[in-house]
Assembly symmetry: D2
């Protein structure tokens, strides 16, 4: 049997535990197999054209700054109801995170209780790679993918060390503090040709894009497009179609889970807000003068985050109108199926020999990775078309998951 390993940065987080518990529940038929673009059982629009790894053949592992096993972690996040978690308790209890690579300055509101015992960048990267190698051997994996589901890192401007692979390598040697934990994980993944998905908010790092291209590794990111921004990129497309001019867009959202707490730290908040705010102008074709995004930590809600948007538009003859949108959603429930889709699509991309930034996966991200000088596509429906076109182009090659991999 062919098998795919999925190594997760932030294994014990809300998105990760929800996804893994969800997969286990789907495998047992305890919840419906819905919400994914790549799931055959749900008559999915892509599955007929490409072979995706079945849920049955995925092996999960990963790192976390907390040592709790995934049953404990999932219970604490309060996303899936306790009686559902009880049904897959044994499987979740077996999953215990590896110690994480961690830097306090990138994670102000977080405590690193369970971190690797080495402090030098190169040593940490070695440890990351060793874990992946070990996992591959233990389970006889045909391929491994890495997904970063960790909390948002504090904002920093890109500097010279991020601009070329040479500079980056030198920075690693010198333990440059500007190389964040997320960058060390991605560097390790590229070295092993392990496709990488950055689901946490993060800027595109040119040095690491260069590394991915040179190594022949497909990468995708950043910042899963789940709640408010998802709606924004659909509604903005509607305003564009009807040529209703957006005068202002005022967005607030609040959540009470760990991600929310991390976002209370001004640095992380800036990273996130910048990621959320960039989407509008490129869809509309002009600069929206008053676009505000505010994120607040609000404890009573836990993972059940909520967004409220007020949009001021101007129509025919200059007449003003308004729209309000209130989205009562679950952060992790929206994110988990995207992660499964991304894992499968990155694996296919790898098989197809794709390398560097996978633009066709922009559909899943708030801030799609973008080479310098390029503007990302944010319009949800143009993103969808990009993915469908890519699938069509690669469908012709017709190689299926288990067969091809086995023969290689």
């Amino acid at each position: 049997m062919a098998k795919l390993g999925v190594t997760i940065v932030g294994l014990g987080g809300a998105v990760s535990t929800t996804m893994i518990a969800g997969v286990e529940l789907m495998l047992r038929g305890l919840v419906p197999r819905i919400g994914m673009l790549t799931e055959e059982a749900d008559g999915n629009p892509l599955a007929g054209r490409l072979d995706f790894v079945p849920l049955e053949e995925i092996v999960f592992a990963g790192w976390d700054v907390k040592p709790a096993n995934l049953y404990q972690a999932a219970l604490e996040h309060r996303v899936l109801p306790p009686d559902q978690l009880a049904a897959v308790r044994e499987r979740l209890e077996c999953l215990v995170p590896w110690p994480a690579v961690f830097s306090q300055e990138f994670a102000v509101n977080l405590r690193g209780d369970h971190v690797v015992p080495v402090r030098r960048h190169r040593e940490q990267i070695e440890l990351i790679q060793a874990r992946i190698r070990e996992l591959r051997n233990r389970h006889g994996l045909d391929q491994v993918v890495m997904v970063n589901l960790a909390s948002t890192e504090a904002w920093q401007e890109l500097s010279d060390v991020h601009r070329s692979l040479d500079a980056f390598e030198a920075g690693l040697d010198a333990d440059d503090p500007a190389i964040s934990p997320a960058m060390r994980y991605l560097y390790a993944a590229n070295r092993m040709r392990v496709p990488y998905c950055g689901f946490a908010p993060a800027p595109t790092v040119p040095a690491l894009v260069q590394q991915a291209v040179e190594a022949g590794n497909p990468i995708a990111g950043a910042d899963g497009k789940t709640g408010q921004t998802l709606v924004k990129t659909a509604l903005a497309a509607m305003f564009r179609v009807r040529r209703l001019r957006v005068l202002g867009w005022y967005s607030v959202n609040f959540l009470g889970n760990n991600d929310g707490l991390v976002l209370e730290a001004p640095g992380a908040n800036k990273t996130k807000v910048l990621s959320k705010i960039s989407v509008l102008d490129s869809i509309l074709g002009y600069e929206v003068e008053n676009h505000q995004v505010h994120i607040h930590y609000y404890k009573p809600r836990g993972d059940a985050k909520e967004a409220w948007d007020n949009i001021d538009i101007q129509g025919f003859a200059g007449i003003p109108m308004q729209m309000k949108v209130n989205f009562l959603c679950q952060d992790s429930i929206l994110a988990a199926p995207l992660v499964i889709d991304l894992i499968r699509l990155l694996e296919v991309a790898w098989r197809c020999g794709e390398r560097g930034i996978q633009r066709q996966l922009s559909l899943f991200f708030k801030s799609p990775y973008t080479p310098c000088g390029e503007t990302p596509v944010h319009d949800l429906f143009r993103q969808e078309q990009m993915l469908l076109d890519w699938v069509e182009a690669h469908a012709a090659r017709a190689f299926g998951w288990p067969r091809t991999v086995r023969s290689s």
Copy 2:
């Protein structure tokens, strides 16, 4: 100078007066030229590819059941502010509606004060044609288009008389009461090869589609997609892209203008609700079990209609979530620019030799005209693509508005 005549059924209505006053204001530079897909001045996405009739060369005229001139009518509708209307008062006062073709049974809450003096269908159709001929001669028009902006007619099931042109002609001879005023106008338009746009809610009448095809006349309808349904067909596309399952969609909307009063009559309400309710399932690919649309007449608002939607969705692992949308809009402000776009695109279609239903104009309608057995496309972004494809296909032919028309 080449000129386009636009004859409007419901000339004194809120949409019509807003559009005509808006055109006059734009011509004088008193309001911005925004909100139209076909307006060169707003960097429109279509204008570079096709030549559209300039606003300067349109001549408006039409029918109404009320005799008021368009300044009086516009003042009463309270859509554009009085000081704006004052600036174009003289032009609007010159526009006085012709008496309308009217049947009380299709317009329960409306009084026909200003109607044609003849009662037989054939005579009424003759009068409609005579008005158009007269207008064409008086202004030396190169082409005429007809737009139906009248209030919603009461619901009736299609019967045999509507199913073939022969039956319809016989029905006209017999003054069949199932042939509504709107059908008589469309019949007259087809006879004269005057492109027709049905902007009021109405079913597709196979007999009249057949007539349009045989006569070589392009037609488009029905029911302008303006407020709540516009948003619905954008958000449903978003739910489709993310495979969030729609469990229920509860829509209310209220307005206080004449259209709202007409919709208080159960028959008209049914026509409108049916038009609004059909859009969801074809976008999503499954039947939404609980889709409700309620329309209420609520006087304090006048033309400023408002919609509120509650949507229940099911995500990953079967977890329920909710969205609420509150759209505070102006019915006529949303509709007026669509009518201008439709006039221009129908004129181009006529020049290109198109006939029958113009599917590429589905973008503008809640219930696009559809041949028997076909399902219309409701997804806003697929509709947009259909229009862009059509423009691209016809752009090659490169004939522009005044020149071609002059030489014909």
Copy 3:
């Protein structure tokens, strides 16, 4: 030990099962004792002044048109979560409804599967009384109260038979179909001096008020003020205080439980809407020209009903403003604690020798019972003051629950 019997019409309904399961859960300390005005444990504002029957000393029983025991019924209503119900399963399973008095014409969307085997009014009333007598004897009850929690009955105009006790008695003899099941229950209660609470929407019946006064029985009703109307009578008081003029109030609400299904029937819907619509004008002191209330059955929500209100107000210098309120609530969760308060307060009223309509309980009702010619107080805060004043007046008498009763 002194004991209070509570006999419930609609024992298996959502409100009743929620209340009884809630009492059992509170007795076991499994849920907090919150939400009641009369509960000592929650530092309540009334408990220090009067002695109320402790939850421990209440015995529940009652009638229902469905035969299911209360555990089955509660599970089906999906108000309290299954794991909470499991904790009190044994107690709930012991509670099985008596067959109900039922008339199909008052309950269009309901099936009467479990009804008394006699059809004559007088016989039915005898059976009701026999059940109460039997319960009293079996449990050695010190007092009994009756609460009507059945579904809304279809609307009917009051007629002569309802206007005096003599006419009503004659109507009973003649099996007059205008005497609804709810009236037969209340008649039986009055005969036995069993205080009666009408929590379902119903008009005040003068004949039965007369009977209550003559018999010395306190009664209170009608239609529990729980969700949208509760908010309305608070906000209207606010608009009154600030002299913001209400131009229109547009209310929709939807729910998916049995009560919602019953309200789909036009007759019941009318009863409910009339009950909801009457509250505004008396608070504001003028007639609101545009007050609309729409209720819809919307299945995805079950008991989790939702209300949306749009309010148009006019302020200083005639300037218009708007407010929107969206209440996501649980019908039975809001209603259950009011029922407990009403039971306790009616019992105290009985001990105090009160008879007829208990105006001080208006706080709990959408349509407080009102003698002919009187206008009820709807302002939530004036209603609160009425109750506080009554409590103060009766506090002086200082008789407590168990002691007094025991000695009687």
Copy 4:
């Protein structure tokens, strides 16, 4: 004819110009006399009991940091429509502000273009008093009232200089920078026994309360309760009545007028947020763990501010529910009539010999002035009762406005 002078700090602001223009429009019958508790013409609840100064007999004047006359200022604020302002243009143009007392450190986002030429506290206070004296003489005024409608001052902790009149006087001598402009105005008012209303957010200053008591001057404040907080203190009272436990209250509001711009400065924002946040706990009787208030400057709206609230409540058996409130209002339209009521009620209080803090006026304020150690009443309906009780108590004395004054 008896006359009342009203001197306004912030004469050119949005609230002030709206109020004064509104008074002029009401005097001419061009807008209805609504929205005030004290206006006889609107069947007001207080007017029958006390005599209030008629609008006809009020003379307005005041200070502002901008030199524009009130017609220019009102036009710029865009609260009342231009055609209404045109009708009272002449009157408004005659009203030109006096130069203001100003300190940049209390008004970060504001420019003081039009300020008094003296810098020492004592000199500024002299100038304030001179203006009032001059106005009184010029118009033969019977009485003068001062209202502070200036923008929010930056937050500062109270220090020793504020705690006693002696310390305050010493601080004045030493030009202590902790004595803000608002305090200098109030000090001047007290010295002249000119009743003072602090409508801008500000803490209670014990030294000035002491001064008011000793001088025999009635004062009232602070921070007009207009939009979101008004609604909050009504809904919180509702939750209290129904014993629905508030778990969290998340409030955002945005506005685009000058007040909004001032509130962008962190110091002023803090003053305002503190004023808004204090109201909840005292109404509910417990501490709400998660109460957040966020204020943002959002340009597209101008004076049309908007509030959105999410409230998480817990009901019977611990079940959670939610409410959302969206208030689309006009800041100055809500504030203006309160100012008129306050002017009139303070004048009556003065006639009645009241001195110091006027608690009966709490109804109008977010943060009612409170002596040390006292908790203010925030419940809107208890505040109303306090006012009604006070009116009742003073009604007996029966002295009317023009008569008494004339005879004095």
